[in-house]
């Protein structure tokens, strides 16, 4: 099997792995503050939400600007979002609560914000698993329907973000705004809008270049 990699795919892998690289690098140097568990929770959580929001922006960006190169990284970025959500979850149950299951369940049960986060994570699993092409063909039109869950997952993650911060709501507010913008762009009237910028076409061609 021959692997093709375009410039935009390489960029996507690079950018999505960067937060993990910094996390590991700073962990080795013992720079994740004196409370590394909290630092890991904040960073993996933010990264998961940011990448997921980006993956949802891919389709409208293609529709509006004809930036079809971005479609090549829609699935990859979605999978990275799920990966960071997994790290966030494992950090919570492992590093934070030392796999003390009864305590973890006791804490989650009474905490709507954690139930919301856990639901988002559980819903992400079937999407990640069925992202391979075999499932895509096998599930056919159901695959598309299943993947619409992502809009619910995104909303749950933003809600989880709102509840988990101390009171610094700026970032969650920005994400919620972008989410609504995204939903508006899905309305047929707007999704038919097309803009043609020669510069965009140039960028698109650049990113579509095969590396090997």
């Amino acid at each position: 099997m021959k692997i093709h990699l375009t410039r935009i795919q390489l960029l996507c892998h690079f950018l999505c792995l960067l937060p993990l690289f910094f996390l590991i690098y700073e962990a080795i140097l013992n720079q994740l503050t004196v409370n590394p568990v909290r630092e890991i929770a904040i960073r993996t959580g933010r990264t998961a939400i940011t990448i997921l929001l980006f993956s949802l922006l891919c389709t409208p960006l293609n529709n509006l600007l004809g930036l079809n190169s971005i479609l090549l990284i829609r699935r990859t970025s979605g999978l990275y979002a799920a990966f960071y959500a997994l790290l966030h979850f494992v950090n919570f149950i492992g590093f934070d609560y030392s796999f003390a299951w009864s305590e973890i369940w006791g804490v989650i049960r009474h905490q709507p914000s954690l139930i919301i986060g856990l639901t988002a994570f559980i819903l992400l699993i079937p999407l990640a698993v069925t992202s391979v092409q075999i499932f895509q063909k096998w599930l056919n039109k159901w695959w598309k329907r299943l993947n619409r869950l992502i809009y619910i997952i995104m909303l749950l993650e933003i809600l989880h973000f709102f509840l988990a911060v101390r009171a610094d709501l700026l970032l969650p507010k920005i994400y919620l705004f972008l989410y609504f913008l995204l939903m508006v762009l899905r309305i047929p009237y707007f999704s038919r809008w097309k803009f043609n910028f020669p510069r965009i076409t140039e960028i698109n061609n650049f990113f579509n270049k095969m590396l090997f």
């Binding site: 409370n35 030392s98 988990a164 101390r166």
Partner: protein, 313 residues
Amino acid sequence: MKTNKIPSSQITPEEIYISRRKFIKNLAIISAGSMIAASCNGSSSLSPSSTPELTNPAKDELGDPLNSFQDITGYTNYYEFAEDKSSPSRLAQGLKTFPWSLKVDGLVNNPKTYFVDDLKKKYPSEERIYRLRCVEAWSMVIPWLGFPLNKLFEEVEPTSAAKFVRFETLKDPAQYPGQGNRSYPWPYTEGLRLDEAMHDLTILGTGLYGKDLPPQNGGPIRLVVPWKYGFKSIKAIVHIELVAEQPTSFWMNLWPEAYGFYANVNPEVPHPGWSQSSELRIGETKRRKTLMFNGYADQVAALYQGMDLTINF
């Protein structure tokens, strides 16, 4: 006004005092030794390390060791500087903490403005080893220096109309970059009921680990109320006002459903985002159970007799 006396042995156990004496003595020997060594090899560095390394770590009254000076001064919540916990240590170094005046007025017979240096001379520092439980579910054990707030109140004499105390931090965006963020209700304010403020555990902190209070920890003068979440212990105070009505605090203003007026450490009342039933002691790897009133129930529970603490959180 009734204040609950607690035995001084519960504040700082005798053996710790003794071990601290030994430690200071050792430090003196070491520094004298290093001075001699320095004079021999011509090095210009005469002072020992500015960070006291406790070889025989002191403990709180529950038997838990103190957090290190580095932990305490390197991990702070100080939104006037930044929203993360590492940069205040760097950004706070420019804060002009001398001279610092503190105005005490409102419903008092003798309103007065003090210089912090005069206050320190007037009320000798006591060492208080207290647990600090942050609302974010982490905690530390800190050896504060300070004096009971009730000593100051003896002098200003609250009138019978005074029921609450309102505290205010300095407002100076030129020194506090975080105060440029208009989404917060600056200046930081806090409040206590008068009997809470008069309690013997409530101190005005002016130092830690035997030194002046570092600016990132709220220097030159801050409140320390050990049975409440850390945010109640307001930093860099410039104004204390005795009032008749319950004041609104900074965090109540921002999110009243999450941050109440009392903010007593209570494992039964969760924050909307996380559980308060357990906490991470900085320096440990496993969570420990959070204690009611942060372990000071014997001394302070009486203040809240008959109150529903899930409503008055």
